[in-house]
Subunit: 296 residues, 2 copies
């Protein structure tokens, strides 16, 4: 196992414990809702957003407890979006991370409340722990996550996605969709990790944000490539679904080779944005490699 | 028009303008989502929660701009819960405030995203404006609203509600449901209004919280009484629905007369909690009267 691989494994392991602790226990009322929340968050996912937050936190010597809370808030927003996205009125997906989706395992009404409650919990965590010596900066973190999640961020991207089904999108339109749908939260993960530590100047924050933007978009391009290539078993979710649904993807729009090339370009751009940070940014660099070169 | 009635009318009118300003404009992308958000929030409702926040704000000489933001955040949480609650997988209601519900006027996927986005916007507003001279106190406001909204607050109450369909609930169980489902957010409205002004001591905050708890429960009891008596046209939503759905209500459990009596008892208790505040609490007193004596 490389140094990076063990860094990932160790953070994934510890982060799972953090989530187990922060989520309401399954034996507290309302039990079914709490059990379904835990089902939807625990034991699943690569935890890409938390890893980005941890790597950004290391860049600024942030206290790991603080970063863990910020990372949890981001991951809960991500988890809520998956639960709602899988529902019959959205993507109607039955499989997620190799398990039945929340509305299949429980029921639709519970899945709706799980998503709603996970979003509330994200803000409860961000506001309920000390994440910065300066409360005004912490307030900025809340604002940042809320904006990244809402109608001009992630949820807005999903609305653009809905509107795009069966329609031919241009490349800039597809990019707009993904910058919102997956990009906004990935950028927030990087910035929230960074906000937990030594204050950065605006040029540094902007560089980190550019890194987050490129990595976020690359993540989606690679997702589309993998989705077009992989089978369901490898992916742990229903494969080839976007193309089946007549949803535009980077692969259907550009072809697999050009999509790969686009991911490589974004990868380069992400690394270039990190240049001013020197060796301190090595985990963020390794994560960019991981995101672009991953096979699952 | 009494002094109280004109106070209500004036605040309702001004608050509508505040919401119009704070909600994303319908011509900004994604337009359909933003239009649906405005449709679901504007021109509707008695704005009971905002009125409670304004009355609590007056008690502590709070700046009205600050209270407007806090009241908006609470009302957006309330509006999101109605949109999701009306969806086919929950109450499957087609009429709300005399208009087609969001998923009927738009579609289910949009209604899902509307609710999700309204919740995010609530926290974006709370964190994006200065609501207190002390940022730590403002952070406490965010935590308070998130807790009131989540699985141990409003959403948790809805989960208890789901679990109760077709089952005989005891009076304490019904109370637990409503303390969460409607009570938590009403209490939060009172406290958030109060947090915008001169700091109160813990005994005063506790008294206000007791007031909010009694008013919140009374609100629900009166709702059940009105629902059992009124017809759909007067109510602006489908009448008699809870009884039809075999959902327990205070009327089915206690009978109409005892339910009325219970509301009167809660009313008295709410007024008693306000006693230490003297004349300064007169709007909160009038609102308690209004909530218990209303006919719609």
């Amino acid at each position: 196992m490389s140094d990076f691989q063990s860094w990932v494994a160790s953070h994934q392991h510890d982060f799972e414990d953090v989530l187990r602790r922060l989520l309401p226990q399954g034996d507290t009322e309302p039990q079914r809702l709490h059990a379904a929340m835990r089902y939807s968050v625990l034991e699943g996912g690569k935890r890409v957003r938390p890893l980005l937050a941890f790597a950004a936190g290391e860049l600024v010597n942030a206290d790991i407890e603080r970063v863990s809370i910020a990372a949890s808030a981001v991951e809960l927003i991500h988890a809520y979006s998956l639960v709602h996205d899988d529902m019959p009125c959205m993507d109607n997906d039955v499989l997620r991370r190799g398990k039945p989706t929340c509305h299949v395992e429980y029921d639709e009404a519970t899945a709706l409340l799980v998503g709603d409650s996970l979003q509330s919990l994200a803000f409860q965590l961000l506001a309920g722990h000390c994440l910065s010596d300066d409360p005004a900066r912490q307030m900025e973190m809340v604002r940042l996550l809320a904006t990244a999640s809402g109608s001009r961020g992630m949820a807005g991207g999903q609305a653009i996605d809905l509107a795009s089904v069966g329609r031919q999108l241009s490349l800039p339109e597809l990019e707009q969709m993904h910058i919102h749908k997956t990009g906004a939260l990935i950028r927030a993960a990087v910035l929230l990790g960074a906000y937990c530590g030594q204050p950065l100047d605006s040029a540094q924050l902007e560089a980190l944000d550019r890194y987050g933007k490129c990595v976020g978009l690359a993540f989606q391009v690679v997702d589309d490539v993998l989705d077009s290539e992989a089978d369901t078993a490898t992916l742990g979710k229903t494969a080839g679904k976007d193309a089946d649904n007549n949803k535009p993807t980077y692969v259907t729009l550009l072809g697999a080779a050009a999509a790969q090339q686009m991911a490589a370009g974004l990868h380069d751009e992400a690394l270039a944005a990190l240049a001013p940070f020197g060796e301190d940014a090595h985990r963020l660099r390794e994560l960019a490699d991981f995101i672009v070169l991953r096979k699952f």
